[in-house]
């Protein structure tokens, strides 16, 4: 219902900032009131696994704030980068973020 009203987008309908295979770092922003960006991924570098869809961002939708749409990405992390004690080198974890939570990482 809300979604139908939201026509504008935060980056003016520009193309997605990242593409599959790009290295990105999750921003370590302060927590207050609400977020869906997990604590354990903050500041960690991962790889874009998929550009999913455009949607409202959680921090807006959680307060019914008409903030526009943003590109979402599935990001793949090495488990060892997330948990130092993780025993297996090759295991990965994927989770999803809207674009503003991600920053590009130089090669």
């Amino acid at each position: 219902m809300k979604k139908d009203k939201v026509a504008k987008s935060q980056n003016g309908g520009a193309r997605a900032r990242f593409k599959v295979g790009d290295r990105v770092q999750v921003r370590d922003m302060p927590n207050i009131f609400y977020t869906r960006t997990q604590n354990y991924v903050r500041g960690v570098v991962g790889t874009i696994a998929e550009c999913t869809y455009r949607d409202l961002i959680p921090e807006d939708e959680a307060f019914n704030f008409d903030g526009g749409l943003e590109q979402y990405y599935i990001v793949r992390f090495r488990q060892k980068d997330l948990w130092e004690e993780y025993p297996f080198e090759r295991d990965t974890l994927q989770t999803e973020f809207p674009e503003h939570w991600l920053e590009p990482v130089g090669h």
Partner: protein, 141 residues
């Protein structure tokens, strides 16, 4: 009326909800950076915390749970709230102790009642009167 011994037991129970980092003074003058960050952590972000293995079971939904689900969906269809407000933010607004202590759908129905009051669809006293009325009807049975 609650008997005085019952009231004392109730207070004992409430006191047991004190944070694990118990401090004699309940109005800290200052919180360290890590402590502040821990306080601001949203309850639903449970990843990375140590836990014990729990028994996995396929629990059938109870009637009140189904009723809660339908009530919350209908409130969504009527435009009272969206799913992010409902299932996620409002549940988190319970705070850590209640979030982890309530049944899954208990969080939902608490959130539904809270949203109805917050958005001025009902007054808090209307809600209180209704809960009291239902409770007394239930007790008479």
């Amino acid at each position: 009326m609650t008997s005085r011994p019952e009231l004392r037991r109730q207070y004992d129970l409430i006191e047991s909800f004190q944070p694990a980092l118990h401090v004699a003074q309940n109005w800290n003058y200052e919180n360290s950076g890590p402590l502040y960050r821990a306080f601001m952590h949203p309850p639903h972000d449970v990843g990375g915390q140590h836990d014990v293995p729990v028994y996995y079971e396929e629990k059938e939904e109870e009637q009140w749970e189904l009723n809660t689900y339908v009530t919350c969906e209908v409130l969504g269809w009527r435009g009272v709230w969206n799913s992010e407000e409902r299932r996620r933010r409002a549940d988190n607004d319970l705070g850590y102790t209640l979030y982890l202590g309530m049944p899954y759908y208990g969080r939902w129905i608490w959130a539904a009642a809270r949203m109805m009051v917050d958005k001025k669809h009902i007054s808090l006293n209307e809600l209180i009167d209704k809960i009291a009325e239902v409770r007394s009807r239930h007790e008479k049975r």
